[in-house]
Amino acid sequence: MNTLAYLRQLRLSHVLFTVLVAAILLYLIIPVLIVVPMSFSEARFLQFPPKEWSLRWYEAFFHSAEWMSAARVSLITAVVTTAVSLPIGMAAAYAINNSSLKVIRTLQIVLLLPMMVPIILIAAGVFFVYARVGLISSLTGLVLAHIMLALPYVIIALLAGLRNFDMSQEMVARSLGMNRFRAFMAVTLPQIKPSVVSATLFAFITSLDETVVALFISGGDNQTLTKRMFTALRDEIDPTIAAISSILILASLILVVVAGRNKQG
């Protein structure tokens, strides 16, 4: 009898725990999912669930020169940021992994600073520097700032790969006559591919997602999607945002799948 009471109690706490977990998961996932049906609503004002369906907000997005220009700026910036921060970050991660110099440990912390310093301060600092050298509202300035912001993510992701890689393999290749660069490209790089893929994802998403620095330094024809979205959200809630958000959610879903595959493979 006693055991039965104990079991019943256990079952009850189990049920309660499951309900709790489900509630927290709903809190996490509902905001991501609710945007999608809203984007197909016919109404100008928010209503959920929508009474009539339409694609008008997607048309509004794809037919607006301003939104399209912002999307283009964001994509170009993200691609160039990824392409530049990967080799720079790889060189740094390689040096951190292979060197026993004490000063490199300190410099490693310096390279992680963009992750530690509050983004609002970075934005203010970069804004000031760019104002002096005339890089405000320029694509170059935006890309440079994003490279700096992406570097710590790239370095951490690559270091994780390099630390699990046995460097003596590269030594062997070099002792057989390859120069260091070729040995790295032929032996090391293919074996740390998963960490390269995740570094790429991190660099790309860091740039694509970045809002605060872009808010300060991007402008004119070179406004990013995030800056336009932020301004639109602050002024009035335009349902076009729901359409853009749905597209971005689809993009993150694809990224999650790619990242998941990458982890397994």
């Binding site: 996490l28 060189a91 000031f128 520097v129 951490i156 030594m171 809630i237």
Partner: protein, 306 residues
């Protein structure tokens, strides 16, 4: 780096007289060190020029007024009510969000780490999908949900739970709900990775020795999960302190945090001195926290948990 030397000199190793080996090794090590520093240089250059130098300049600005050196900008933080209140509110909200994210993050990380296959994956997807979704998109979703005529209020009204719409925006409630949503994955992911490594055998061993499940949980599981809680909390708290986007959109200009104080001083008033002083106090607090925690958990591990 003797290995590097070996690799370089292997073909003609026999032709060199042994006496010069020490010299050659030292030379090789110097060369190795130089080339490693050179590899680090481009990344370092970016961070120094676009981060460290601007910070130094902000520090300079903060102690500079028209009459030269002055600490007036710092004094203002302690003297003027609005500055002091802003710092207080920022700490309060960061603390609330951190505590809530422990309370909410622990159960789902626990469930994900103890379950397998489909259910574990489902939980992780519910955490990772929002994590990879733009903060702007999520803030927009919360605007839609929390508005006066928003989804939450409509639902509660229809169900007859409330007669009046609740005010969940342009106040602390909205800021906490939206910020917590952004921070929760930062707590769950490090917690999950720590919990996943705790072997199930330990729990079974404890129970086979007669411990009740709760006692096992408290004395075996919890101490082993503690580093994850610590790493997650630090990460969440520090990001909260400087968080801008969601509090700005959901707080709607009424719940003013330190980050907004910096932004307004720069963009609206061009008051660089005030903005710099506020920003540097924030930076100082953040560094103090990182410095303190670095003795227990390496910073790189905390940041890498993302």
């Amino acid at each position: 780096m003797s290995n590097a030397y070996l690799a370089k000199s292997m073909p003609d190793a026999h032709s060199e007289p042994p006496a010069s080996n020490a010299d050659a090794l030292a030379r090789e090590e110097r060369r190795e060190n130089t080339s490693m520093l050179l590899l680090l240089a481009p990344a370092l250059f970016m961070v120094v020029v676009l981060l460290i130098l601007p910070m130094c300049w902000l520090a300079f600005q903060s102690v500079q007024t028209e009459d030269g050196f002055s600490l007036a900008n710092y004094a203002r933080i302690f003297e003027e009510r609005i500055y002091w209140d802003t710092f207080y509110l920022t700490f309060k909200i960061s603390l609330i969000v951190t505590l809530l994210s422990i309370v909410m993050g622990f159960p789902i990380a626990y469930a994900a780490s103890r379950l397998q296959g489909f259910w574990a994956n489902l939980i992780l997807i519910c955490v990772i999908l929002p994590f990879w979704t733009s903060v702007l998109v999520r803030s927009y979703a919360w605007l839609v949900l929390l508005q006066r005529r928003g989804v939450v209020n409509q639902t509660l009204l229809d169900m007859g739970i409330i007669d009046q719409p609740l005010n969940m925006m342009h106040n602390t409630t909205g800021t906490v709900i939206g910020t917590l949503h952004v921070m929760l994955p930062f707590m769950v992911l490090p917690l999950y990775s720590v919990m996943k490594k705790i072997p199930q055998d330990l729990m079974q061993a404890s129970e086979s020795l007669g411990a009740k499940p709760f006692y096992t949980f408290r004395r075996v599981f919890l101490p082993m999960a503690a580093p994850g809680v610590m790493a997650g909390s630090i990460l969440v708290f520090v990001i909260c302190l400087g968080f801008f986007i969601t509090p700005e959109l959901l707080g709607g200009g009424r719940t003013i945090l330190v980050s907004m104080l910096v932004q307004r001083n720069v963009e609206l008033y061009h008051a660089w001195g005030a903005a710099s002083a506020v920003g540097l106090v924030l930076l100082f607090v953040v560094f103090l926290i990182f410095w303190g925690i670095n003795r227990f958990i390496p910073i790189e591990r905390i940041l890498g948990a993302r």
